[in-house]
């Protein structure tokens, strides 16, 4: 195991490298891109949640002065039966294409059906209203249990449930059924003294990034396609666009602009291929922007779900068995995060007997996209509420029951993997010792709740190049979009290796032709994996610099050592030169030094969090106020603690929004009735107290500095923690999200 040792740069809080650009308005985001002759694109979207497209007539739109081009699904190549491999599992290419521009059916309100490029955005919008689409409106299916009924209207004629390797004969909205089993659940429940079984419902919620999707595309006459956009992964955009347009990746350059939030929602492409089609048709650069309603109605939310959890424990508090049924809405096409939900649901515990069933179900809502620990928050809302109820029945402190059953290194997760060194116990212990948890909590209608959460984190490919400058600084070239300070956290790892300051590193996020392949900023992987690549690139620089020092002193490389930013010779000559001075002598010792590092690390190391929350419930209005919030999390090693705290605080607050207020509200026709920030109502700063972020460091053996991803797990515990606090306040168990005032009043029997 790694020691929690002292570092010079790691663990400090330098100003982020892109900070000045971002506080002065100079940083260029996707929508800020300008080009001579730029056209503006807008997308026409289906007003129906479920409809067959009979015909599309674009002639009136094309005749409007200022309109330069109109595209529909007919402009996309025929996807056939191709299965696209996008690195994160196989995807039916027709689904990808149909979600870009609907061909035969519109499957949700907001589904793109056509797009226009015009000389200004107002003309493009006007032209969209002149496109005549004839629809045959079909009954929508809007809820997962309804969609699973045998007589439910079908979204797709050809989907047949694959269940544990078998494919059913009849078409269904259930795309797949997965199952994980460990031990003997029946025996486990037989050993239990107390068994709790509850059902939970969670609503559809959106990532809610403030920057809408955007893309500008341009085709050169030589067939070179360039796309400037906000994305979580330029290489992923390149892959998806190449598949959808059936165009070689070598002919596509993706330039990542600054990104205004993603949270998983800016991995899938929506308007990027549309901008490319319009650019091809018009021969001009075309910028396509979404408005806020487009974002809510046309881009991936995270699924609504129906969950049943059953857990049993002995009188001593030992959990003997757990069972979960997870039915997740995939949206219009298969691919909900029920898999990750099933992986995470009981992961804070070591339970011998477990069975988990998961169902991926299509409904007439936007195709879901990842959202921060996708699937895990839904699942944890169920399991962490049931654990709380068991603790209460047994008269055991809710953190104590977590300690009694906490997962640790060597324990097996229900879906197979054995935990490496993890910090589950440490987060619970830190929460238990925190002054928040030990503070009195006795006022009427005030309550305290706790919950834990798990996210497995991922590794994947990253590349970093380092160019050494003559003044002792380095330019660090990377392919990871910086959404929350990762230029700094990656640069700091290279600085630590080379014994230089964080400020001596100039990090740049570059396009797909200027750095090696790098996977998305997602899965809490960036500081871990791209940081690891930066570490390797810096080691490469160090090795080359040692060779130069050896050359300078005419000694063997083995006789040169590097420590504290100084090269020195050992055995014999007493020579010494600083990193900075040696950088100034590269020309005379052989020429420039370029270091490179590429990784695809397997040891991401799971992350755990335990949250404590105090709430006040207004019995007359049903409104819940957050009075105090403490979020404890294992970061492995916090490279830049301020940005680790930021991830914890931001994740917790997204969870608070999900818990108390956020949801897509649909009418019977399947129209989202609250597709604006005013009506969707994410938390504002007036809704919140300070969020106390407590970092625990249990080094990850899978990273040279012990880093674990930190971005996702903080959104896992809040819903259950708040539900448990509401129970503590008013004695009512909430089983439906969001726990909005109307649901609270209903649960209290007041309406």
């Amino acid at each position: 195991m790694l020691e929690n040792k002292e570092y010079k740069v790691i663990g400090t809080r330098p100003i982020r490298h892109d900070g000045v650009d971002k506080v002065t308005g100079r940083a260029l985001y996707g929508a800020d891109f300008q080009a001579a002759g730029l056209l503006h694109g807008r997308v026409l979207r289906s007003p129906h949640a479920h409809a067959r497209i009979i015909s599309i007539d674009t002639s009136r739109a094309e005749a409007l002065p200022g309109v330069k081009g109109v595209v529909t699904a007919k402009d996309l190549p025929d996807p056939g039966d191709k299965i696209a491999d996008l690195g994160e599992g196989a995807v039916n290419l027709k689904y990808l294409c149909d979600n870009i521009l609907a061909s035969d059916k519109a499957l949700y309100k907001g589904h793109a059906v056509a797009a226009v490029a015009a000389t200004n955005p107002h003309i493009a919008e006007e032209a969209c209203t002149l496109i005549d689409v004839e629809y045959e409106v079909l009954p929508p299916v809007l809820e997962v249990r309804q969609a699973m009924e045998p007589d439910a209207p079908l979204l797709h004629d050809h989907i047949r449930t694959t269940s544990l390797g078998e494919t059913a004969d009849e078409p269904s909205n259930v795309a797949s059924h997965i199952q994980h089993k460990l031990g003997d659940p029946e025996k486990g429940f037989a050993e239990a003294d107390v068994i709790i079984e509850r059902e939970f419902v969670t609503g559809t919620v959106h990532q809610g990034y403030i920057e809408p999707h955007n893309a500008t595309a341009h085709y050169n006459q030589d067939g070179q396609l360039t796309i400037w956009c906000s994305t979580q992964g330029a290489f992923t955009v390149r892959e998806q666009v190449a598949e959808i347009l059936q165009y070689p990746i070598s002919k596509i350059k993706v330039v990542p602009m600054e990104i205004g939030g993603g949270f998983g929602g800016k991995i899938s492409v929506y308007i990027k291929p549309v901008a490319a089609l319009l650019a091809k048709k018009t021969g001009k650069p075309v910028k396509v922007l979404m408005n806020r309603a487009d974002v809510f109605e046309g881009t991936g939310p995270t699924p609504a779900s129906f969950i049943r959890v059953k857990m049993g424990a002995t009188n001593e508090g030992k959990i003997t068995a757990a069972e979960a049924y997870l039915a997740f809405e995939a949206g219009a096409y298969p691919g909900s995060p029920v898999g990750p939900g099933a992986m995470c649901i009981f992961a804070p515990y070591n339970i011998e007997n477990v069975i988990i069933d998961g169902y991926d179900v299509v409904v007439n809502k936007p195709k879901t996209a990842p959202y921060r620990a996708p699937g895990a928050p839904n699942a944890a809302f169920g399991s962490e509420t049931v654990v709380d109820e068991i603790a209460e029945k047994l008269g055991i402190d809710p953190l104590e029951i977590r300690l009694l059953n906490a997962a640790k290194a060597g324990d097996r997760r229900a879906d197979g993997p054995v935990h490496p060194r993890i910090g589950c116990i440490e987060t619970v212990e830190a929460a238990k010792a925190h002054p928040h948890y030990t503070a009195p909590n006795g006022k009427k209608h005030h309550g305290r709740g706790v919950a834990s959460g798990y996210w497995f984190n991922i590794g994947l490919e990253s590349s970093v190049t380092i160019n050494v400058n003559a003044d002792g600084t380095i330019n660090l070239i990377e392919g990871s979009t910086d959404i929350g300070g990762t230029r700094a956290s990656i640069a700091m790892q290279a600085a630590e290796v080379l014994g230089i300051s964080a400020e001596s590193v100039n990090p740049s996020v570059v396009d797909t032709e200027s750095v090696g392949y790098t996977a998305v900023t997602g899965g809490s992987r960036t500081t871990y994996a791209t940081g690891y690549a930066a570490y390797e690139a810096a080691q490469d620089v160090k090795r080359q610099m040692i060779a130069r020092a050896a050359k300078l002193w005419e000694v063997d490389e083995a006789n040169v050592q590097f420590a504290d930013g100084e090269f020195s010779s050992i055995n014999g000559k007493e020579e010494q030169i600083s990193f900075r001075d040696l950088c100034g002598r590269l020309g005379e010792t052989g020429g420039p030094i370029v270091g490179s590092g590429t990784v695809n690390p397997g040891g991401a190391g799971g992350a755990y969090a335990t949250h404590v929350v105090d709430v006040a419930v207004d019995e007359e209005t049903g409104k819940v106020d957050i009075l105090r919030y403490t979020a404890v999390q294992d970061a492995g090693k916090a490279i830049h603690p301020s940005y680790v705290e930021g991830q914890i605080q931001g994740g917790a607050v997204q969870g608070i929004g999900w818990a108390l207020n956020e949801e897509y509200i649909y009418n019977a026709e399947g129209e989202m009735t609250n597709a604006s920030f005013l009506d969707y109502r994410m938390p504002t700063c007036l809704d919140l107290p300070m969020i106390d972020a407590v970092i625990v460091e249990v080094p990850n053996p899978g990273h040279p500095y012990g880093v674990r991803g930190v971005g996702e797990v903080p959104i896992v515990p809040p819903m259950a923690a708040i539900a448990n606090a509401i129970y503590d306040a008013i004695g009512v168990r909430m089983t439906e999200l969001p726990m909005s005032p109307d649901r609270l009043l209903k649960a209290m029997g007041k309406i």
């Binding site: 892109d18 985001y29 003309i123 205004g260 993603g262 806020r292």
Partner: protein, 156 residues
């Protein structure tokens, strides 16, 4: 295309003339006509505050003001806040406090905070939260933003 109007206004202390359609918002004019892209469009209906600017001393969402309405008025945007050789104390406080993650809401928050501190140099935490409630941030949970504004007030 609608006829364009001539408008003369003051932006960040400089006299500026532009042509715009009557339907174009101040946000569109700033971004598309004047290439001042520091003000961001998050919602285009006054709900997120990412386009916040100060118009004749008053904080506004520039997406809710028409370009032609700025005739003879004075507009302050994020681009005019720093001095050539140093940042505004609010900008410094945002950097020191790590009060931004993706940064898309940051120009709006900083302009909003400036409007607050211009009229209330020593706000309480609650006053800061009340004033900034018109600016949405999805990344930070607001903790570090509120601290940054309190720090900037204390530094004055």
């Amino acid at each position: 295309m609608a006829r364009r109007s001539h408008v003369q206004t003051t932006i960040n202390g400089e006299t500026v003339e532009f042509l715009c359609e009557p339907r174009q918002s101040l946000l569109e004019v700033l971004r598309d006509e004047l290439h001042l892209t520091g003000a961001k469009e998050g919602c285009n209906n006054g709900n997120c505050g990412a386009c916040s600017v100060i118009l004749d001393g008053r904080l506004v969402n520039s997406c809710l003001v028409l370009g032609v309405e700025t005739e003879g008025k004075s507009v302050e945007t994020i681009e005019g806040l720093a001095e050539p050789d140093k940042l505004h104390p609010i900008q410094d406080a945002f950097l020191e406090n790590a009060a931004l993650q993706c940064g898309i809401c940051t120009p709006g928050f900083i302009m909003s905070a400036k409007a607050l501190l211009d009229q209330n140099p020593n706000p309480t935490e609650h006053e800061v939260r009340y004033w900034l409630a018109g600016n949405l941030c999805r990344c930070t949970g607001y903790d570090k933003i509120v601290r940054a504004v309190l720090d900037a007030a204390a530094a004055k």
